[in-house]
Each structure stands twice: as C-alpha cells, then as structure tokens.
Symmetry: C3
Subunit: 254 residues, 3 copies
Amino acid sequence: MRIITLTTDFGNSEYVGAVKGVIYSICRNVLIVDITHNIRKFDVLHAYYVLLSTHKYFPKGTIHLAVVDPGVGTERKAVVIYTDDYIFIGPDNGIFSFIENPKEIYEIEIPEDASKTFHARDVFAPTAAKIACNLKLNLKKLDTFKKLDLKPKIIGNRIAGKILCVDDFGNIITNIPNEMIDADFGDVIEVKIDNRAFKMRFVETYGRAEKGELICLIGSGGFLEISVNQGDASKVLGIKGGENIEVFNIYNKG
Amino acid sequence: MRIITLTTDFGNSEYVGAVKGVIYSICRNVLIVDITHNIRKFDVLHAYYVLLSTHKYFPKGTIHLAVVDPGVGTERKAVVIYTDDYIFIGPDNGIFSFIENPKEIYEIEIPEDASKTFHARDVFAPTAAKIACNLKLNLKKLDTFKKLDLKPKIIGNRIAGKILCVDDFGNIITNIPNEMIDADFGDVIEVKIDNRAFKMRFVETYGRAEKGELICLIGSGGFLEISVNQGDASKVLGIKGGENIEVFNIYNKG
Amino acid sequence: MRIITLTTDFGNSEYVGAVKGVIYSICRNVLIVDITHNIRKFDVLHAYYVLLSTHKYFPKGTIHLAVVDPGVGTERKAVVIYTDDYIFIGPDNGIFSFIENPKEIYEIEIPEDASKTFHARDVFAPTAAKIACNLKLNLKKLDTFKKLDLKPKIIGNRIAGKILCVDDFGNIITNIPNEMIDADFGDVIEVKIDNRAFKMRFVETYGRAEKGELICLIGSGGFLEISVNQGDASKVLGIKGGENIEVFNIYNKG
C-alpha cells in the first residue's frame, strides 16, 4: 500500500478533508499521512524547507503531495517530479527547489471542469490517487521545473543567507547548513537580520541555555537555527520568514 | 472497510483522540478521516457549510460524524440520518440542514452513564463504530429532523443572503449560489454586510487580482465568496460568520 | 495491527509528519492515531492530564507515544513503561505520573547520531515502531520513573488543588476528582485561584447555564472544571494552567 503525504497551508481546515475524500474515492488502497497543513499562508519558502527536511523520512515510493499555491487558477504549471526514491506533486512555483536529480518531470493537464480556486482537490489529489493506484493519467513531459536559488554565500568574513521559516515553537530556521558553521559550543556569535544586530551563544541543544536566553544551534534539519529556550524567538525578534541574515566570523575557514 | 469522517469544533485537541480511541475499541476494521476540527466554536452555520461542501467527495457508504454541540447534555436529540449515499450522525441542531431527501431518520438513545458534556465520545462515536461494524444499536425511528432555512431570497434588485462562515484563509463564504450570480469577470459589484457597503471586482480566481485587493468570486463550494488576494478578508472587513449580506444588481434576471 | 498514539506539543507542524515517516519506514503494519499535538508548549502538567484522561479509551496493547520535552538532549531519561494494558514511551519528566502499577520500566539508549533537539524523531519514534513490529531494541531495566505528586489535599474546610490545564474551549480543568465534590446542581460554590476569589453555580452541563455565565461542573475526564457557557473561561479569568486552586465547603464530609 502506497503512502501519499500532504503538505499544505490549509490549516487543518475542511479543504484537507475534501482532498482526502477525493483520494480515497479514486484509490482506496492507499495510506494518507499529513506532514503538516500549517505552512504559513502562501509561503513558498516555508513549504520548501518543510519538504526538504521531512520527505526523506518516508519509505521509498512515497508520493509527496504539496500545495502552497497563491497562483492557483493562473498560468503556473501543475507538475509531477519523479526522483529515484519519491514522487512529488504540486504547483511549479519553487516549493520543490531542493530536488537535485529529477528522473522525469511532467505537466498535469488541468481538466476543464476544475475549480479555479482549489486545484488541490480537483487537480493534484486525483493525480496522486491515480499514480498510487496505477490508473491512466494525462501528463505531458517537461524538461525542467522552477528552482529558486536558496544557497547561502560566503562574502568576506560573513555568510549571507536567508531565513527560510519560523517553526511551530517560534524557532527561526535559516538556509545555512551545519557544514558552513565552524563554532564550538559556548562561542558567542553575531548575526544581522535585515541590518539589526544580535549576539548569542552557540549551544548544543535548547536545554543547555538559561530559560528565556536567545541562542543559536544546529536544528534537527541540519541548519543554523535561532531560538529562545522555552520561549518564542520569532516573537522576541519580530521575524516572520523570508528575511535576509548575515552571520559573522564563524564560517569554516578550512 | 468503511470510512468514518469527523467534523467538530474540538480544535485538534485530545477530545478528537478520545473519539478515535472509542471508535477503534469498538470497530477496528474502519478508516477514520478528519474533515476538520477547526469549526468555529459552537457555530452551527459553519459546520453546516463544511458538511455541505465536503461530504460528497467521499465514497458512497461513508459515515459522516459531526459534532458542534452547544446543547450537549440538554434536551436536543442525537440523530442518525440515512440518505441514498451516506449516513450522518450528530446532534439535531441544524448542522444537517442541507440534506434534502433523507431515507430514514433515527434518534439515538443516550446511555445513562454517558458524560453530560462529551456525547461525541460517549454517544456519537459508539453509534458510528457500531454502524460501521454492523453491531446492534438502540435507535428510535423519527419522522423529521431540524432544518434551518438557509436559502437566499431575491428582493427587488438585490439578493438577501447570509454569511455562512469564514474559511481558514479568511475568505468570507456566503449562501448565495453560483446560479444566482449574473456577472462577468471584471464587473464591479456592490454588497452590504449588516448595512456597511463595499464595492469590489468579480474575478475568476484569487491570482487575477492585485495583491491585497478586495474581490469576490465563486469559491470552490460553488458559492459567492469575498476575498483579499493573499490576504485575510475576514480581518479586513471584521467578519466572523452569521452576518446578513445583500448583493445588488448582479442576480440573474433571465 | 497495533495502534501507536501520538501526544505532543508540536502543534500539527512538520515535526509530526517526520515522526510518522520514521515509524512507517521501520514498521508499516501499524496504525498511527493522533491524540493531540496541541499540548501547551513545554507544559508537562497539560500532557499529564491529556494522557490520563484519554489513554484508556484505546484498545489494550496500544502504544502511547508522548513527547513534551523541554529537556531534550540533556540528562533526562527516555523511558518505556509497560502496564497491564498499555505501553507508554516518552521523556521521564513526569508526564506519566498517573501510572499506578507499572509492570516493567526501561530506559532507552540514545543513539550517538541522534539529533540533540528532536528525540521524538530519532529516539522515541524508532522505539515505538520497533515495539509495534517486535524488532530488537536496546533497553536497560529501571526500578522507577519520575512521578509528580498531583493529588489534591483536604485542609480544614477547603480542598487545595491545582489547575492542570486549559482545554481547547478555554475550560479550566483541575486535579480535584468527582469523588471529592459534595455539591448539588444549582449550589453556589466559592473558589480561590492564586488568592483571587470567585463564586459560581455548580451545574450538570454547559447548556444548563446562561450564555456567558461562569459555572463549574464535573468535566468529561471526571474532574472539577470551571467553564463559561459558550465562552472561554481561561480568557475571562486569565488562567493558563499550573495555578493553585482552593475550593471551599463542598468536599464530601461523609
């Protein structure tokens, strides 16, 4: 039995229920697993990070259906991307930018009677269900899909990166990977977010800081993360996701 | 294997978990699917719209269990309603008003040891589980169930309707169906909500408007919807659901 | 097929999805059921109450995985507790204080490559999946686990208790059980919360009060609960959970 995962900004609303109903109506022999429906509304970067950091924990063959889709009903394409291990389905707006070696890319033909505002239900869910049950599909081969450039850059003595998102605890997650960080636990590091400067200790885990202390660490996705122990860093710093961040003097000089 | 769907105002709290535990304890051979648990608390109109717009996407034979129940433990009845395609279970307070041709209606007998505050766990869940597994039930035949009058009316040059609910994106959903609207994309229409007047373009989909523009369109449920492109119309207009709405000069004169 | 339930403070975020992916990757023949992911962040008392009041509604043999874990990555133990009917897995921080007669208690060995911030994914989920599928585990026998003293006390003419949590409706749930309450429906009772005094009627169920009336009743978990009919008692009284509460003159003198 195949797994179909769902990642959306639908907020556990009835739109999730409708998607599941459509899938089960087409293909009963499937297991639907919610990754999350709490992507920040319309936030492509947030969806990108969530997919990047969670898709690999699912069994090979899993179909990952992701819908964060401010352009629904306009010219943006609907795509299916096959990799060695997974199948990704969703709007072609950059949420799948982490895919490095796609094996095959397809465009989904939009049925004429599809709602203009709810392709998750009328386009993406039927496609996922048909793939899961090996039913006939109307797909057109593509050469490429939309990829955003989300790699941080080293400029002089700093790393210039981006805040990808805020997690449910208020932790601020950047695109700066573990491998770029050359700091020891306890080091004080300096960051600038949209030109506001902050200093904080680099620690191993949340519980190694004082309650309420602003810290940074390598989060569970393998990226530099700014946090407040038992608090909400995003509220303390006023961060929503998408901001630029600079990190000073801690990149690996080796 | 039967599907039981859940629609409640329990907010993904442990009350949902308890309901699922009870169902699986009585009937393991069933698939439980959440439609949503984010119905606005105690809001019968919201539950009505969500059930109306999603129940039909599930396979025939699905049992739809819905609990938005401000009258729990009082005299309101607990009902089971069979239609040609589905079985509905919940409090008899109007949430099932969209059912047009019930085949059979039953009242559930409340067990003496049922909690006075949690019939979802102690009354509705056991009933759904027993129906799913064809176990013996204590039901009493009824002739009718509670129906609210939720049809809009045409009065002179306007449609007098109601705002049924606000969706998770802040879109304002009315009870005015597609068939009553006689406008072209791009037309400016006028509405009054509780006597406050607004003008907005009628568009095909969200992405056809400027970011932040107040618009209206036919939503995925087939009803007139007021929206802000990539924004939250309910916050902009201060709407919660249940308000009266009048729409001018766009109804089908044909 | 075994059931694994999940109770966390992850808020339906992608952290829940990652946990499910890990479980299904290790053991496909299992049914995962969410109890709730809306435990107040880092709130051990809230998790304690939710587990106490819901675990027993699941079939015998169910594995209850619970992660509210402010001490993740520090010295706190990771435990597995077997009772006659269930298996509990989570951090040893008091969330399982309701367990009266554990049959066996084990410590989970933390793998060296586990993330320091996400033991739910890297420690607890693999343990639950291996138990569900009878795979080999690295466990060390323990004699005891952490238990908080959460029993209310009778002092003179009052019961000195604690507010365990606020539920999704804003109802304020105490640790004072039904058996300690000797009041009739309609009696006015007096409580003090952190030395602020309130009077309210003791009723059978929410709908027996005026809309907006402050009341108390025996909630569905069998404990004294303070509520506002169709309102949010926690907002009205400014309660978050963890406060001390005294109840006067209504304990059972028998």
